[in-house]
Amino acid sequence: MKEEECIELICMGGKAADVGFRALYREMGPPMLRFFAFNGAPGDEAKDVLQETIVRVFKAASSYSGNGSAKSWLWQIGRNCLADHRRKLGRVQEHEAVFDDEAWGRLLESTPDPAQEKFLEQESLDDCVSRGLNAYGQKMPDRAYLLTLQMEGAGIEDIAAQIGRSIAATKEYLSQCRKKLRPFISDCLELLPA
């Protein structure tokens, strides 16, 4: 079922709304949870943000005009809810430093990084890049997440919908992600085989 149809069903209320909600949850739940978790709302926080997103979708469904992609509209609501969540927690508002040290520390504690431990013995190219990526992801989680999506082969349309940009602007943004990453891994590039 397409997102537009889900919204239509939600607008109809009653059992139809429940069907629309379930379909929407199946389609958008997993990627949104991942987006939230990768962008500063790990674990139960991601669930909370998804809950707010769904509530807001229900409240705003009747105002969805049908102009533009429903998926983009849903992601827009999700991004707004994530931003609200960050504000509520008093996290840094600058959009490139949303994942503060405390949140990052909590995440790292719960999921130890084997690459960091290995680094103490002998740093390989992978270890060096991992270290740079971690620092980059801490400073710019949204950009690191986009590079992850790109690495996983996500379509440019999907990435564009998630960040609310046009396709051309998304490509440009990805290119900027590379430039922003470079200082974090510049010393590793010397380890590349000649």
Partner: protein, 267 residues
């Protein structure tokens, strides 16, 4: 327009995505390939903190919807036309009241900015998805809706007057410099560059900016404060927040937004 990405970046992104048949000896490709494994490892680690969208969470969500009274409730309006009609009725009443109340006070003025060239031709419409940075709002009377919105908006913390800047039909098609790459508005680039500083300063200082793009087309830029978000949602508008700001593109209902076609439309 923003600079198109160069061939190195393109190759780098392709290699990062694991596209085969790339020359691994190419330093750009090698750099991207060196990232793939660490990125995968990092993603696996972070994925451990991603909750599963399971039945338990589904039930939690359903419970929340019931608690909010949203489950089983039928909304009053579905079609934008119905909403716009209702909005215009409220708007008419609201404006009438406002005019009566502030009759002896200076209201916002739509002033022409001298020295700003207008675009002579009407731009072609574009697909709404290209305006992902903006929030589209359909209205029976866009100008009246813009006026009503800014007069009901929460005042900025310093209590300054809200200012309305009218630039004439087709004068600009974008506002902030960093949004230039998201719109095609070559004709208006000069105008835009001349004015962007003014807009940026205003918006960042908490003063809403209204730009009249032409008949029945209004662009409204405001700071995305909590109060503003709450206010817009109370008006049934779900805003897109871009770099701490909100752009509302208010257009005549059933009309498409007023922006030149973007080159990426063919992508």
């Amino acid at each position: 327009m923003g600079d198109p990405i160069n061939k190195d970046d393109e190759r780098w992104l392709e290699a990062l995505a694991g596209k085969p048949d790339l020359d691994a000896a190419d330093p750009v490709v090698a750099e991207a390939l060196a990232l793939r494994k660490p990125l995968q490892v990092r993603a696996q680690r972070l994925d451990a903190a991603v909750p599963t969208a399971d039945d338990a969470l589904l039930e939690q969500l359903r419970f929340r919807l019931r608690r909010e009274g949203l489950s089983g409730k039928k909304p009053v309006f579905r079609r934008p036309a119905a909403w716009a009609l209702a909005a215009s009725v409220v708007l008419g009443v609201g404006l009438g009241v406002r005019i009566g109340l502030i009759d002896d006070q200076p209201g916002p003025s739509m002033v022409e900015s001298p020295g700003i060239p207008s675009t002579p031709t009407e731009p072609e419409p574009t697909a709404p998805e290209q305006l992902a940075f903006a929030t589209l709002v359909a209205a029976a009377d866009p100008k009246a809706m813009a006026e009503e919105l800014i007069h009901s908006m929460p005042m900025d913390p310093l209590g300054r007057e809200k200012e309305v800047v009218g630039l004439g039909a087709g004068a600009v098609f974008g506002i902030m410099p960093r949004w230039r790459d998201r719109l095609s508005w070559d004709d208006a680039k000069g105008s835009f560059q001349a004015l962007s500083g003014l807009f940026q300063e205003q918006v960042e200082s908490g003063v809403p900016v209204v730009i009249e793009l032409g008949q029945d087309r209004i662009m409204l830029v405001v700071q995305a404060t909590d109060a503003m978000l709450e206010y817009l949602r109370s008006q049934n508008i779900e805003p897109t927040v871009t770099d701490g700001e909100i752009v509302l593109l208010i257009h005549l209902e059933d009309a498409r937004p007023p922006v030149n076609p973007s080159p990426d439309a063919s992508l």
